[in-house]
């Protein structure tokens, strides 16, 4: 657990200019491979502190598009809890396989289960709540969409790290948004240190393939995000195409194999950077490309050979706490 956080901040030198510098925080360096390790750990520790979780008895159930499930399963099972993950059917096969391999029971939702809620993870949230609500003696749902421990994880770790790693020079902070934990926690900290830090929220296009992000017209804005939405200075919307183009560019120019949402952040960082006279632009790269081979091949981002070559040439890869 000591490996959680303290992830590298790397300059994207092929994109930086003399006056505008781009930095990516490589969150796949967390033990279970994504930024969600932080939220998962903070939420579990918070529940333990409050006496809610009982080892050997409690089942942790959570709706998730993937990374939170992986983080929660990995961390919770190593601490002695059983885990059930409620996940949209359309999540990548690699993600589902990892979850099963780590010991989670999966419940897969389709978009047509409940006509009164939105698509994707909104269905998963509804089902996870429905399963846990009548069985409170057994089930605990951390509920990353409402749990302030998610926000605190970033306020207490991600924000301070970025501040230190840039020596306080960060001018623009860019991240994708799903639950809103990363953006609200990190931005709150950064703005406390320097109220002029410009915070950019990146949402997905409607009907997207950008695992982890949300579009806030087709899906609800989570309570966690609504609480502190005012930290956002600017909204950008990332399309599948632009995000995948950036994934390709990062592989070619930086030898980095990133996940789709990192491509979304890269696109947005560049769009903003083009308008600036100067700046230190920091983006969160939430996960790497290791779970996305089938997606990238299917969507024509890379051929199988190009993917395999990008993977073997990839710099800045990390040692995961599990094997794929």
């Amino acid at each position: 657990m000591e490996r959680i956080g303290h992830t590298p901040l790397v300059e994207l030198k092929s994109f930086s200019t003399k006056n505008v510098r781009y930095f990516a925080k490589l969150e796949w360096h967390n033990p279970f491979g994504s930024v969600k390790d932080r939220a998962a750990y903070w939420m579990i520790k918070d529940a333990e502190r409050r006496g809610i979780l009982k080892k050997g008895k409690s089942i942790i159930i959570e709706p998730t598009s993937g990374n939170t499930g992986i983080a929660l399963t990995g961390i919770a099972t190593s601490l002695g809890y059983r885990v059930e993950i409620v996940i949209p059917e359309k999540v990548s096969d690699e993600t589902k396989n990892i979850l099963r391999h780590l010991g989670a029971t999966l419940h897969e939702t389709s978009d047509d289960l409940c006509p009164r809620v939105g698509a994707g993870t909104d269905q998963s949230i509804a089902l996870a709540k429905a399963i846990s609500k009548p069985r409170p003696d057994i089930y605990y749902m951390p509920n990353q969409y409402e749990n302030d421990a998610n926000f605190l994880a970033h306020y207490e770790s991600t924000g301070p790290e970025i501040w230190e790693q840039t020596d306080g020079a960060v001018t623009h902070f860019v991240t994708g948004c799903g639950t809103g934990g990363t953006i609200t926690g990190t931005a709150k900290y950064l703005k406390e240190k320097n109220r002029n830090v410009h915070v950019i929220a990146v949402q997905a296009q409607k009907n997207h393939l950008l695992q982890g992000l949300r579009n806030f017209e087709e899906s609800l804005m989570p309570e966690l995000f609504k609480r502190r939405e005012n930290v956002v200075d600017e909204w950008m919307t990332a399309t599948n195409k632009d995000s995948f183009d950036s994934v390709k560019q990062l592989a070619e120019k930086e030898n980095m194999l990133v996940g789709p949402s990192s491509g979304s952040v890269m696109t947005s960082m560049l769009k903003k950077g083009e308008t600036l006279e100067s700046g230190v632009v920091v983006g969160i790269f939430a996960d790497d490309g290791r779970k996305f081979r089938s997606l990238y091949v299917k969507e024509g981002v890379m051929s199988e050979q190009e993917y395999d070559s990008a993977l073997s040439n990839a710099k800045h890869m990390s040692q995961l706490a599990y094997s794929l």
């Binding site: 419940h107 939702t109 389709s110 047509d112 289960l113 409940c114 006509p115 009164r116 809620v117 269905q123 509804a126 089902l127 709540k129 429905a130 399963i131 609500k133 009548p134």
Partner: protein
């Protein structure tokens, strides 16, 4: 005279969307032509389960309403 359903599930006391979810899981496990009986008590289930059945191309063989409960018989069509 109708034959007994291949499988029966009781989703009374469960909250939306668990009744539809359980229905879906059981239908997926059945063979084409098999029937599933679902006993529900949430009034919203009437519309939710019926809609799910027709959207997914299965047949709603019957829907019986008693005082408190709803009894669906669904035939797996594809």
């Amino acid at each position: 005279m109708s034959a007994s359903p291949t499988k029966s599930i009781d989703v009374r006391g469960l909250y939306c969307p668990e009744p539809v979810f359980r229905t879906k899981m059981e239908i997926e496990r059945l063979k084409i032509g098999d029937t599933l009986k679902v006993v529900a008590d949430d009034p919203e289930s009437e519309e939710d389960i019926s809609r799910w059945v027709s959207r997914n191309g299965h047949e709603l063989v019957s829907l019986n309403k008693t005082d408190k409960d709803l009894e669906f018989v669904i035939k797996k069509a594809k």
